[in-house]
């Protein structure tokens, strides 16, 4: 599902954010990407949803070579990938319904179908009663669950979560993790970038450790 071959990424000359990254994530896998701040986790995530192109090497997502993808085709790649951010990226002047609906509006769904689907998703993340609330009236954990609903609503093949629990309390972290696990059980390939050791230890999933832009460990502890 995700393949990186000898990927090298640098923002400036002589300073590589990622170096010789070769990795493969199979369909339906759940992977933690970890490492200290500045290790290259976010850069790697950005390569996976086409926000960046590698300086060298190949990035292949669901059979699509992102490296060679023209900008006009990137939206179609992103429709296969649900992304969750640490800062949620919710639109403050739109309701929870409208925020989650955005993903389906882009796909051209009818209003009626959108409402049905969004309500179903919000029920799954336990926020159906907040459907007409604006994000600013929600707690951090609730905001992150709305952001996750937005990422999951079109049942993407891949879910990328960049520090999804970074700003949350322990209870909210568990809820976020439960949602990601459920999406994984339903078939989505999940990649979570985090430096939260407790989160990683509670899951027993494959862990890829980055340090100074290199993969220093790739361990599958699911068994």
């Amino acid at each position: 599902m995700i393949q990186l071959h000898n990927v090298y990424m640098s923002y400036q000359r002589d300073a590589a954010a990622l170096s010789s990254i070769t990795m493969k994530v199979s369909k339906g896998e759940f992977v933690f990407l970890t490492g200290v701040s500045g290790a290259g986790k976010s850069t790697l995530m950005k390569l996976l949803y086409g926000a960046l192109k590698p300086t060298r090497g190949q990035v292949v997502i669901d059979g699509i070579n992102v490296t060679k993808l023209p900008p006009s085709q990137i939206p179609y790649l992103r429709r296969k990938v649900g992304v969750v951010f640490q800062d949620f990226k919710l639109l403050p002047n739109r309701t929870v319904l409208e925020n989650v609906a955005l993903t389906l509006e882009v796909l051209g769904w009818s209003k009626k179908d959108i409402n049905k689907r969004v309500y179903h998703l919000l029920k799954q993340v336990g926020l159906e009663h907040k459907i007409n609330t604006t994000p600013l009236r929600l707690s951090g954990g609730e905001q992150q669950r709305v952001a996750m609903a937005r990422a999951l609503v079109n049942e993407p093949k891949i879910i990328l979560a960049d520090e999804p629990t970074g700003n949350l309390d322990e209870a909210s972290k568990d809820q976020v993790l439960a949602i990601l696990k459920e999406a994984n059980i339903k078939g989505s390939t999940v990649v979570v970038a985090t430096h939260d050791r407790r989160l990683i230890d509670s899951c027993h999933k494959r862990i890829i450790v980055l340090d100074k832009g290199h993969i220093v460990e790739d361990a599958d502890v699911s068994g």
């Binding site: 949803y49 926000a51 900008p71 939206p75 992304v83 990226k89 639109l91 002047n93 769904w109 609503v153």
Partner: protein
């Protein structure tokens, strides 16, 4: 569950160009409602900028009208020391009308000339005691077309007129025409200069106001890209919003201008015309209003397009 396809895709809401346009229009209207304050500020700024421009246009249009009225006084007269026979009048009028720039020819007999003269001396008619029509010349008064009333055109016209053998004496108030032409050129030059600066200022203000509006929503643009929206899907509602902002801004400025016109200007002709024949200041002609509205729409569209380019990386 298999994820080989992107979700179960139900029936699409916006099939065809009409459906898509309806969706984008609805989205634009919703965006305006959700960002009401920013939109009000934008429309207010556009209105103010266009109000200044349309006020200038109103004054310019009326000044042009006044000068056109003044230019009606430009006449060329060919004098004769005898009465012309109807045959001669017809023949000469035909030859004069054949000259380019002629709007009309009127024969003024000696009798008619005396009547006019005494008309001008109202109250002092006794001065004309003993004056008979034969001491006044008969004449052919020639009115010129608007574009032939400037100094150069009249000089050319008169030289052509003098080529008609029967015409020997021609008068047209050479000095007055020269001064009038200079004044007209000055008015047009100042008009073009001030108008040009105003148009530049309006373009600058409107484009930057729209840029700020879009900048305030750059998170929204980024997010749309992240959830898989294509470039045009992101741009279209913003472009429609830009057009609506431009048109609404201009419409408000026209409403305010018409309010000011009704309250103060429609009877303020004395301020600029010095001509009691004029009934009052004209409002902007319909083609000017249409051009202003089209200008507002174009500025809104182009301002949005230019700003969006900076914030959409797709």
């Amino acid at each position: 569950m298999s994820r080989d396809k992107v979700a179960k895709r139900p029936k699409l809401a916006r099939e065809g160009a009409g459906g898509r346009f309806r969706y984008f229009l609805e989205r634009a209207l919703l965006n305006i409602r959700q960002n009401l304050l920013v939109n009000l500020i934008t429309v207010g700024t556009i209105s103010l900028a266009f109000l200044i421009l349309s006020l200038f246009l109103l004054l310019y249009v009326n000044l042009e009208r006044v000068t056109e009225n003044w230019s009606d006084r430009v006449q060329v007269a060919a004098y004769f020391d005898r009465e012309l026979s109807p045959g001669e009048i017809a023949s000469l009028s035909g030859k004069i009308r054949a000259i380019e720039g002629t709007a009309g020819v009127t024969y003024i007999s000696r009798q008619e000339a005396l009547k006019r003269f005494s008309g001008r001396l109202k109250g002092q008619e006794s001065l004309l005691n003993g004056v008979t029509p034969d001491i006044l010349p008969s004449s052919l008064e020639i009115r010129l077309k608007r574009d032939s009333r400037d100094s150069d055109s009249i000089t050319t016209y008169v030289s052509r007129l003098k080529k008609i053998p029967e015409i020997t004496e021609v008068q047209y108030g050479e000095e007055w025409v020269r001064r009038f032409t200079d004044f007209l050129n000055l008015v047009r030059f100042i008009g073009a200069l001030v108008g040009g600066f105003l148009v530049l200022a309006v373009v600058f203000i409107v484009a930057n106001t729209i840029k700020l509006t879009i900048f305030s929503r750059k998170d929204e643009l980024e997010l749309m890209g992240l959830v898989g929206a294509t470039r045009w899907f992101i741009k279209a509602p913003f472009l429609i919003e830009g057009i609506l902002q431009g048109v609404t801004g201009v419409a408000v400025s026209i409403l305010v201008l018409s309010g000011v016109y009704m309250a103060f200007l429609h009877n303020a002709d004395i301020l600029i015309s010095f001509n009691p024949m004029l009934s009052g200041l004209l409002f902007l002609p319909i083609e000017y209003l249409a051009a202003l509205l089209a200008g507002g729409a174009a500025l809104g569209f182009l301002g949005s397009l230019a700003s969006l380019k900076r914030f959409i990386s797709l």
